[in-house]
Symmetry: none
Subunit: 228 residues, 2 copies
Amino acid sequence: MKILIIDDEPAIVQFLKDGLEANMYVIESATDGERGAFLGRTGTYDLIILDYMLPKLSGAEVLKEIRQENKHIPVLMLTVKSELRDKDELFRLGADDYLTKPFLFDELLLHVRALLKRPAKVEGEFYKVDNLTLNTRTKIIRRGSQEIYLTRREFALLEYLMINRNKIVSRNQILEHVWDYNADPFSNTVETHLASLRRKLNSGRNRNLIHTFTGRGYKLALNKLSER
Amino acid sequence: MKILIIDDEPAIVQFLKDGLEANMYVIESATDGERGAFLGRTGTYDLIILDYMLPKLSGAEVLKEIRQENKHIPVLMLTVKSELRDKDELFRLGADDYLTKPFLFDELLLHVRALLKRPAKVEGEFYKVDNLTLNTRTKIIRRGSQEIYLTRREFALLEYLMINRNKIVSRNQILEHVWDYNADPFSNTVETHLASLRRKLNSGRNRNLIHTFTGRGYKLALNKLSER
DNA sequence: ACTAAACCTTTAAATATCCTTAAGGCCGGC
DNA sequence: GCCGGCCTTAAGGATATTTAAAGGTTTAGT
């Protein structure tokens, strides 16, 4: 899951980034409204965290720009109580949720989880394919009863495959959803991570669940071809 | 365990602080209601000790503010008998317990212990992971039969890890619960204390119980990964 | 109030982990 | 059987963590 943070205070951005990365989210950030609006319009995110008070382009304007692009990405707004005249104002602008500063990180995390659950991305507490499970709350991966240790990138990759299980996802889709804009599309880092993910998932006598479709992409499923 | 003291008399604050620190609690304090309410709302405490009579914002008002933030932190109120018309008044406001001044420190300590036991933070007299035990009453740490001497900060750190045993806690969570607001989040004092804690706990041929999850935090547990 | 010890924090260097890059071999499609 | 795309492995670079040591502050004893 990829989250965009737009806030002009570097310390806050860092605080949110660290905390969210510790919870296995992929983070991109912008420290002014202009850059934030650009990323929000052009990037691929599952959630945007947007400060109300911003230089260059206010939070409200950024939100408007994003919404114009017909995107219905969940947007969580951060406000200072004194700034907030009317909370309905925020919803009218198109925000999905808001939080008044200061807040505890755990509070934010609850809101983030709730928002990410909405767009039918997450049905229950678990994703499951064969005997492979991903717990969306604890971020624990298991193959059968054995817990599997994954790095952040590997986790984000597997999560994306799990969300799209039984469907073919292209290399570019993966790159868009799991890597940030710095990623070099000509490098083979996706393939490398897929390899190490397969190695970790297939240990023992477990069957391979990540199937390659040459020229098309990858599919996480019990069988390469669907049979009914 | 971190305690917030809100009292306008510096001498009382000092008295409580010294005594509680001697019992391995981490203390923060405020000498007026405004500051107290701010800390109470924004900080992370396991208990708040609140004087009824305060300048700027009365104890009752401070309590109301804290409770508005939906927090159910235990609050211990301190009153002078003459101030207290009706003790039910305090409970109605949301206090969990009260004490009338003057009192003996040991009395206070009993109340503090009782309150901290409530929120399922402490089950019995001991925390235990492998052959490592922490006695919540005597504050004695043992690895097997060997007693281990820890400094206050090390103790608070281990206690926090013990409360959250078998769960990953991030560096920021640790900072929030074990250090006070003065702590510089960019220094590596947490890491340094973890190192010295590990050194003390792992002496001899004991296995390491504090496991690192790069980019995510630390977990106190028998094994890094769980197998069921 | 002074001194010494204990403790906590800071800095910096060493180490470990993770991510990316690059090269060579393998496999599947044609 | 050839070619291009994919996989694997290893090495290098970047980032994160651990360790060591010195400096500063607090605490405790006299």
